[in-house]
Subunit: 292 residues, 2 copies
């Protein structure tokens, strides 16, 4: 039994679409093919990766841990094939993190319809807050403001979530309904290594700022952050929306008091005036595609 590329693709697609059928459509193959691919993968592991129950399919704890790496494989392969065949995708969409979830899949559906040509998906970690927009690695991205990019990029808000603090299971804070600066004093924090505007603002005195920080641990990706939190290495400043897609046993999200919210936004290069992009942006302007 072998771990093959189509099987990994199928796994990622199912996790993203939340359905075997939808995954099959998005991959351009039949539904039984997707079922078989995922089953093969699960046979290799010996444990289930996806839970099929009423109301869709969700990854298991193990599946969620594997997902980020699976996306990396698919992304690297797509890159390779693009160079190999010389076909440049019409549009590349960048996402922070693994980009699994309803927002991603809905947005992609709209983009694919509006674009016509091939649309590529690319994952980015904390090391590039612009999700490849500045380097040209992507043309359109779902980013987490604020971005310190001057006026090179244009953004349009998509959604906002309450801020939350991720703490390990069993932490004294884990049971609270909400936490404030006083509760967070003397903590070690897991901090995005290369993206600390939000963090710096958080440490500023006043408002919800927490100044009593015992230490910082760097992290390059969401998954790593949650691993570190679960391991008790520190707590992290995230959003409640993160919990939806990255929920992980051993990590509890506690809302931050004070009503602070953090946003997710669409971004693109102001200088990019290609009809492809403007067309897609127009299609995305109608907000019906947004989940909820």
């Amino acid at each position: 039994m072998e771990v093959t590329l189509p099987a990994i693709r199928a796994f990622v697609a199912v996790a993203r679409e939340g359905s075997f059928g939808a995954a099959a459509t998005s991959l351009g193959v039949s539904q039984p093919t997707v079922s078989a691919a995922v089953r093969r993968l699960e046979t290799v592991v010996g444990r289930p990766l996806l839970v099929r129950d009423r109301d869709g399919v969700r990854p298991t704890e193990l599946g969620r841990r594997l997902l980020a790496h699976a996306v990396a494989v698919v992304s690297a392969t797509d890159d390779f094939e693009t160079l190999l065949t010389g076909e440049t995708p019409e549009l590349t969409v960048g996402f922070m993190g693994e980009a699994a979830g309803p927002l991603t899949s809905r947005l992609l559906a709209v983009v694919r319809r509006a674009c016509g040509g091939e649309v590529r998906l690319r994952r980015f970690d904390f090391d590039d807050p612009s999700c490849g927009l500045l380097t040209g690695a992507s043309d359109l991205a779902v980013v987490w403001p604020p971005l310190e990019t001057g006026d090179a990029l244009e953004t349009r808000p998509l959604r906002t979530d309450p801020r939350a603090v991720a703490v390990p299971l069993g932490d004294p804070l884990a049971g609270l309904a909400a936490v404030g600066p006083a509760d967070l004093a003397g903590r070690v924090w897991v901090v995005p290594r290369s993206r600390d505007e939000v963090w710096r603002a958080f440490r500023r005195p006043g408002a919800a700022g927490v100044t009593d920080v015992a230490g910082e641990v760097g992290s390059d990706a969401i998954e790593e952050t949650l691993e570190l939190v679960a391991a008790g290495r520190g707590v992290a400043l995230l959003s409640e929306g993160t919990d939806e897609h990255y929920a992980r046993a051993g990590v509890v999200f506690v809302p931050l008091s004070g009503g602070q919210r953090c946003s997710t936004a669409l971004a693109w290069r102001r200088a990019d005036t290609r009809p492809v992009l403007t067309g897609v942006l127009r299609a995305l302007g109608a907000r019906e595609w947004l989940p909820e």
Copy 2:
């Protein structure tokens, strides 16, 4: 015709080993299997990726461009499979760049023999000068000193190469036998984005320092650096050894006068005292395996 994982693996192995037979051995498959895999890949592209001539196999211009991405695919897949099967590799060896060449393959052979268990290869870009040693992503690495890591890492020199400047074909400097600071005044430089100790030293007045710099362009990887140089976006400070494995049409390497050399070194965590590592280091102590 499909781009499959084993085909990419075969391509990478042949490029690294410089021979179909050796690649087959290192992959644990037969030689015809490797031949067929590479041929399939070349059929997809429509152009040759590897040149077979007397004295070994070398990638073509196109092959070299694809190699870095192919390595990324293999690396991501290995990561994924490691998590999937739960088998942790005995030892992970980190390399800066694509790590194709005799040094890599010889070193790996010695490590594999001395280690016994599974040995993983992992590529790193400029964003991590320690090649994953500090984060635990690797246990042993081929790095480019100097490293600003305090005394966390121990290093052992492997080889030194003359420094050279990469300039685009057709540049006035391209024909010279050697260049000095005076020749390099007023240039735009392509600089590793996150690894500029060497660069800063280079800009210091005196010695071979060049102070008259017109601008800087950031780069995250060797391949990107050479792309930028070939495109005329700037010139880059590299080593003559780089030319051996990354030779690229459109880029000429001109030696730097003054006899400056840059070194390649083996590095590991000082705190890592596992028998696996010490055994491998002892095996690598006998220098017979070094190329040339």
